[in-house]
Amino acid sequence: MSAFTGTGRLARLVLRRDRVRLTMWVLGTPLLGYALAGSVKEFYPDEAARVGYASTSASSLVARAFNGPVVGTDLGAVVVAEAYLTLALLAALLSTFAVVRHTRQNEETGRAELLGASVVGRYALLTAALLVVVAANVAATALLAAALVGAGLPTAGSFAAAAAFGGVGVAFTGIAAVSAQLSVTSRGANALAAAAVGIAFLLRAAGDVLGEQTDDGLRVVSAWPSWLSPLGWGNQVRAFGGERWWVLALPVALLVVGVVSAYFLAERRDIGAGLVAPRRGPARAVPGLLSPAGLAWRLQRGALLGWAVGVAVLGFSMGIAGDEFNAMIEENPAAAEAISAMGGGAKLIDAYLAAMLGLFALAIGAYVVQALLRARGDETDGLLETVLATAVGRTRWLGTQVVAATLGALALVLVGGLTTGLGYGLVAGDPLGQAVELGGAALVRLPALLVVAGVVTALFGLLPRWSVALSWAALIVFLLLGQLGAVLDLPQAALNLSPYTHVPSAPAVEAAALPLVVLTAVAAALLAAGMAGFRRRDVPS
């Protein structure tokens, strides 16, 4: 029996388990690409519009940090710039989660032990997972290329762009293969790989911000940090701007290195073990832990701290970039017009800051969803049953989860506003005043997050089996409506579905009380419905 015996069968098992997820991934990517290409074509129909776009993006450090370097004025180049963040992050995270799900999670749950005892080689599980994930990336690449060609873009560029996104997925497949070997838990393995995505993003952003604008002002040559980042490699392929095909070898090389390292580590460890040794804990609980609230705080504090640090770093740097944004719009009236159309309001810098706070509120929505969905995780694990068999009532328990998630969101929103204000204040003068003003403006977003909490709670109470999938789906819909709604030119009725549509865009727009009151009322109704459903239903169900 070789170390790979059974790989084929296990790969079929992976395909069977993930048939829905994989289908959504492989079909969703080209659909999204096609939709984006179509809307960009409408927005930038002629060369003049695209020259304006390219010169604006190339001179804006913020645009460079988020969208990457501009590679030219071809329609495809604009599509890639607009789609890059979404499609690259999707490829990276989907690949990571899929690898961890079929490797470390199997070990954690004991499924790997069961499989490993049958006629299955030592490397078979890992190899099967990697094969399927790489195949999914290849399939998504092929379909995305076809979709871009179908949208009327040049063939070579379409294939280069699709391969660039597929390359990001392949690179993170290699990274996840290693992280799954290092950490004992799937949560830890996902966190390690997600941290790698974060670092890759920061390196790429730094390299592109530090990069040089070409003499014609329409392109950016990235600095060296971009070359250290798998997310950056996708940009360096320069799809639609003089393709550099050889760059595609980099993610493949990283995959090979990752897979070889993973085999090496798998060979030297026991099943279920990792390289990060588990620590010991106290023999007795401190009094602060001994209540549902204490427990919720204990379980959430790690994630909350991580989020707070991330939000603070991002807020501070976006705030500092605000000054340079001021300089940019002075030189570029075309960009000024575009931004004021997006953010609204008279003062452009306020529109910029409001857009940043809006982005934070969207991201913090993900925190709220994951924090509240722990309730469902506890239920499927059987933990909730044990807790509810004690003298803790259902209302108290679920109420504690909601309050904990809401307080966490409040803290994060405040951190985002304060640090953005502090950063902008430092470059524009009056750090304290700006911090207070933007902290207040950020708080205006809280009612939207309350609605997110309400949606998750209602799903948990009324449709528990669907709560995980539908909660994330709802957040993704809110995100797409907020980020792409304007680009895709969706009708207002659709945009109104998202609570984020209704929060006043402070500080660009004066905060009005009415939408906030209505949002809070909607949130309260959703929470009450979820609570009532939870009180009436079976646990577990």
Binding site: G281, G382, L388, A391
Partner: protein
């Protein structure tokens, strides 16, 4: 007074009728064995008792209260050990024990430490590093260190080794001496025989047998193996004797306890050289209600033939 009283309980999940007219009575101060094969509805019954699942029909009373409406008040008076114990992976075992104890309304610290020592559980290890048996010990220690009137234990020893099983049995006897009531779901028959005053056997969501062990033993037969100087004849014709077989000069048969005396009188005439008799076990009773093909066999009709040399049989007298 009954601590637990269930009449004609029905619980359905979609089209599946998990409980189909189940009855269960547990008196104060008794250790009650709750037996049934996997999927027969033991855990579902317990979840209804805890007010976690809502009943579709029937009457359920715990301490004369409705477990669905008065869940929190009832939970102060009982402790629960689930069949499949899951814990918070990043809490230590000691923290989890204290947390469960406190959520239940308090914990006897001295007893907690004593139990940790008796069950040889290291409370400083993180829950994610515990084996199934150790996770079960966490739940058992947390439950037994709580001063409550009713203990609901759902297959609590399925991951424990024989040594720990013995400790567990000691502790359950201690709870009984202290006057507590215990509902012990299990399919470890030796455990139930060793601990329980009364037993209820359920199958496919229905109670098929309930009573004290002595009452139930009347329903089973003693297995006898005898070696005689002259071939023993006429055995099959004796009242209450079943399933007579001759193997290597030895005779195997089964006899109803009421007719044991007549059998012995008959055997004496053939010159008994060796005689082994095994008392009826719960196992036989249990097997009777297990296999589908035997479902229709009424109590007292020919029982499944157990191998007389079966190791699990209590030691017979020679």
């Amino acid at each position: 007074m009954s601590v637990i009283s269930i009449d004609d309980l029905v619980k359905t999940f979609g089209s599946v009728r998990a409980l189909d007219g189940l009855d269960l009575k547990v008196g104060a101060g008794e250790v009650h064995g709750f037996l049934g094969p996997n999927g027969s509805g033991k855990s579902t019954t317990i979840r209804v008792l805890l007010g976690l699942l809502r009943r579709d029909a029937g009457d359920v009373r715990v301490f004369d209260a409705d477990p669905w409406r008065d869940a929190v008040a009832l939970h102060r008076r009982l402790a629960y050990v689930p069949g499949d114990v899951n814990l918070w992976p990043n809490l230590s075992g000691g923290e989890a024990i204290d947390l469960f104890g406190q959520l239940r309304g308090g914990l006897d610290r001295r007893r907690r430490d004593d139990l940790l020592e008796r069950f040889a559980l290291d409370p400083t290890r993180k829950c994610r590093t515990y084996s199934k048996g150790n996770r079960q010990k966490v739940a058992i220690v947390a439950a037994f260190a709580s001063d409550v009137e009713l203990y609901v234990l759902d297959e609590p020893t399925s991951g424990l080794d024989p040594l720990m099983e013995a400790v567990f049995q000691d502790e359950v006897r201690q709870l009984k001496r202290d006057g507590a009531t215990v509902l012990l779901s299990s399919h470890v028959l030796a455990e139930v025989e060793a601990l329980c005053d009364r037993v209820s056997i359920i199958r496919e969501g229905r109670t098929v047998e309930s009573g004290t062990l002595t009452e139930l033993r009347h329903l089973t037969r003693t297995a006898v193996t005898v070696e005689t100087a002259r071939p023993a004849t006429g055995l099959a014709a004796l009242p209450g004797v079943h399933d007579v077989r001759e193997v290597d000069g030895r005779t195997h048969l089964e006899v109803e306890p009421a007719h044991l005396d007549e059998l012995l009188g008959h055997l004496v005439g053939f010159g008994v050289r060796a005689l082994t008799s095994a008392p009826p076990t719960l196992e036989e009773l249990f097997l009777r209600h297990y296999g589908d093909e035997r479902a229709a066999v009424p109590v007292g009709a020919p029982a499944p033939t157990a191998d007389p040399t079966d190791d699990e049989r209590p030691a017979g007298a020679r």
